[in-house]
Each structure stands twice: as structure tokens, then as C-alpha cells.
Amino acid sequence: MTDWLNALTQGVLLGGLYALFASGLSLIFGVMRLVNLAHGDLIVLAAFVILFIAGKLGLDPFVAALCALPLLFIVGFALQHILLNRTLGRDLLPPLLVTFGLSIIIQNGLLEIFSADSQRLRSGAIETASFALGGGVAVGVVPVLTLLSAIAVIVLLNFFFYHTALGRAFRATSDDLEIAQLMGIDVNRIFSLAMGLALVVIGIAALYLGLRANFDPSIGPARLLYAFEAVIIGGLGSFWGTLAGGIVLGLAQTVGAQFDPEWQILSGHLAFLVVLVLKPRGLFPRALDGSGA
């Protein structure tokens, strides 16, 4: 019984990490209809940036991440401004293939700079700290922090989107690109700002990725798939839906692992496929257009 309770708890906590992965993807797709195939690799890149800053300046990963966030914002802004804005338009192929090429470049660039060695963000005692929840279940501090951060990020994103002028501009741009320009909105700048913001969210996700598990240049694509699955399961157009999707995915994985540890990832994928077949628009869709499903 305890085993199952444990699996469920771990699943929810894992969902927090996946929700963090997914929020950035959801943000980008929401604002500019761009699916970034390099999303997972950007998370890994961010993790290496944090690692580098932490190492060079002798900082705790949390502090290093804080320092990395403005840097990541600039990276995102520049990436969109210089490269990705050129790919947006009516045709599907350019953004897909360019971000795919970007994925390869980032993976191999990291490989060249940092080698294929497994890395970890070391944070001292907090890594192994845990507390008991009762019922024989113990949870690690880091996983709980991950989930809390995911919730905080989503609350902040919702606040930003629904209670600020810039957020309003994001939503208007997402609704109707042409008319948004008539409001005095420089849509290309909006896209660049959105990507910058997405990289900040990615940075937070990367911090917890690196704290929870080992990472190396090659694990990007798998993170993309988890992020994508969380978004689809949750349904497009809602950040809370993305959290729900992440948790469902996390639960599917940990429950599957209970049957056989080798089945963890496969269970997640299968749960995604089941949701896709039965509820193609996701569990909590909010998007008004049908793109994606």
C-alpha cells in the first residue's frame, strides 16, 4: 500500500517538473504558434549555463540560476530576433526544420564544450533532505520545491497574461496577428519578448532538472517529448491545464514504474497516446482555435 501511495506522491511531484518543462513550450505556442523542436535542448543548455556560472563563481545553484535568468532572457530574445522571426509565416516547414537544425547544433555544441559526461547541480544538504508526509511516505525537499515553483511560475504567468498591458498585447497578438498591429503592437518585438520570457521559464525548469537528476548534452529531445505530452494532455491554451497535464504524465510514469521500472517512460508515452485518442483536445482545453488537435 505504502508503495502505491509513494508512487502517487512521486508522480505528482514529478508532474511539477514536467509542468515546468511544458510551460515554456505552451507560452511560445500560445503567443506565436511556434513549436520549438529545440525546446528540450534549450532546457539542457540552460542547465549547463547554470552549472557554468555556479562553477566559475562558486555559487549555490539557486543563486547561479538567479544570475542566469537575465542572461537567458537575452539569449531567448536574440534567438527570436535574429533567427526564429524569419521563419514565421504561413508555411509550416521553416520553423519546424530550423528549430530541428537548432536542436542538433545545441546538442553537439554542448558536447564539444562540455563533453558527454553526466553532470549534476550540487546544492549540498538540500539535495537529500526529505520529510515525512505520514502514511509511511517521505518526500524529498527538492521535488516539493519543484512542484511549488511550477505552481508559482504558472500563477505569475497567468498574472502577467491577464493583468498587465504587455500580457494583453501577448494575448491580442496570439488572437489576431494582423489586427494586433493596428493596435500599435510591434509583433516581432512581442515574439522576441515572449521567447525571452520562455527562456526564463526554461531556466527555472533547468535548475530543477539539474538538481533532481544527472544531465548531459543528449537528453534534450526526451524533455521536449515530455513537455509536449504534458501540453497535449492538459489541453492547449491554459497554463493550469499544462500543470494538470504534467501531473497526469508524472503519475502515469511512476505508476507504470511500480509494475516494472523499465516501463516508466513507456507508460508515460502510452498515457499520452490514450488521451490523444480519447480526448484529442486534451483534458482541459481552453484554446479557441483547433490547431494542434
Binding site: R171, A172, S174, L182, M183, I185
Partner: protein, 233 residues
């Protein structure tokens, strides 16, 4: 004094030429109407002025200065606002948010604010927090006009604001025009409803297949002239 002027304005959709050299003027404080059959190029004309489609750099002049190479979002900041055909409200935004986003590119302080728009169209005040798709056609049109006004435009371009509306609602909407004009805004009306257009405008232009077929003051034009200009001989 000429506020806005188009000079040999051309416009293309891909290979298809929609406008063949339009020369038109708008004086400060004036209201002009553009009439013509479907596909005559009226909406294209407004889009060209607003910067939504490519046009020659000196095809459109504001205060005598060419603005044809500017992006749409810069044009708004210069004081030209378009109420697009079909309203095109933002479905993710409430009524009030639609109005507020209109003020995003506000060029400078001016007479129009949320309060002022609500006093122009009181029915919107009660619905400020509702989403826009559920509003009636007339209410949506009011939001669209209010949204454009929020940028404090010197020139308001209205693309078929009577489309799909019942006569009594059209009268309501056009009833708001005098107040808009009183604040100093010059208005360009694209209309299929010729009667309404002639009543509201100081001057009329008639388009036919991308060309100007007639221009003049409403009182000076005969029915025959308009008929011929509208449909062609």
C-alpha cells in the same frame, strides 16, 4: 488644409492588382465616404493607408509627408486608426480589454479614454467584463469603433461599419459620429449603404474595379451619375 492624401496609390494581392493609382484627399475635420460595389477596392484602399498591405513609399502622405514605407504599428502611432471590416475583435479579451488594447499604441494624450468611450456607447459599460463573441453585432461594432478611438486618432478609417446590422442599430452607430467629429477627428467611411454614406459625408469618392470613377459633394451628384460610377456603363 489637407491632412491625408493618396497619390497614384497602387496595391497588389500577389499578382492581382487591386488598386490602379488612386488620388484622394482628406481635409482636417472632413468626413469623406468611399462607395462602390464588392471587390471595387474600398477595403484595400483603407488597408493600404493603415499599412496592412504593401504600397509605394510616397503613395500615402500625412501632413504632406510620405508614410507608405512605415509598418502598420507605426502608422497607428502617427494617428491613423482603422476599424476593420468584420469588426475583428480579440476573442481572448473582454470588452474592456479590447478597448484598453486599442490604447496600447496611443500617440499622445487626447480626448478618448475608457470613460469617454463608455459615455459614447453606454451599453458597453454594462458589458465591460463580458467576452466579445457573445455580444450582438451592433455592440461588437461599438467595441471596434471604441477600440480604434482609444489611440486618439486624427484620422479614423471605418470599413463597412453598417455591415450586417439592422437599420435601427446602424442609426445608433452613425448617431455617434457627430461626437467623434466634434473631438476633431477626420473620418473616412467605406460604405455599401450609399444613403447612409451620402448623409454623413462632406465628400464622396466612388470606386470601380480599383479605379476612381466619381468624386464630388453628395448634394451635387445625381442618381444617374452615381449609378453609372458604381456599376460602370
Amino acid at each position: 488644409m489637407t491632412l491625408l492624401q493618396t497619390r497614384r496609390l497602387t496595391a497588389f494581392y500577389g499578382d492581382f492588382q487591386a488598386l490602379f493609382g488612386i488620388d484622394a484627399t482628406l481635409g482636417a475635420g472632413e468626413t469623406i465616404a468611399i462607395i462602390g460595389a464588392n471587390g471595387a477596392g474600398k477595403s484595400t484602399f483603407l488597408k493600404a493607408i493603415a499599412g496592412l498591405i504593401r504600397r509605394p513609399a510616397d503613395g500615402v502622405l500625412l501632413d504632406g509627408k510620405p508614410i507608405g514605407s512605415l509598418s502598420a504599428f507605426d502608422i497607428v502611432k502617427l494617428g491613423i486608426a482603422l476599424v476593420p471590416e468584420g469588426r475583428r475583435l480579440f476573442p481572448s479579451l473582454t470588452v474592456e480589454e479590447n478597448l484598453m488594447i486599442g490604447g496600447y499604441g496611443r500617440r499622445m494624450a487626447g480626448p478618448w479614454s475608457l470613460d469617454r468611450v463608455y459615455s459614447l456607447f453606454p451599453v458597453l459599460r454594462d458589458r465591460r467584463n463580458s467576452s466579445t463573441p457573445i455580444l450582438s453585432g451592433g455592440q461588437q461594432q461599438m467595441v471596434a469603433i471604441g477600440r480604434a478611438l482609444m489611440s486618439n486618432p486624427r484620422v479614423l478609417l471605418c470599413d463597412e461599419i453598417s455591415l450586417g446590422l439592422a437599420p435601427i442599430i446602424i442609426a445608433d452607430i452613425y448617431g455617434a459620429l457627430p461626437q467623434i467629429k466634434a473631438e476633431g477627428t477626420s473620418v473616412v467611411l467605406v460604405e455599401q449603404d450609399i444613403v447612409q454614406a451620402m448623409k454623413a459625408a462632406d465628400r464622396v469618392y466612388c470606386f470601380q474595379e480599383g479605379r476612381l470613377s466619381l468624386s464630388g459633394r453628395p448634394r451635387e451628384l445625381t442618381r444617374d451619375q452615381i449609378h453609372r460610377a458604381y456599376f460602370g456603363s
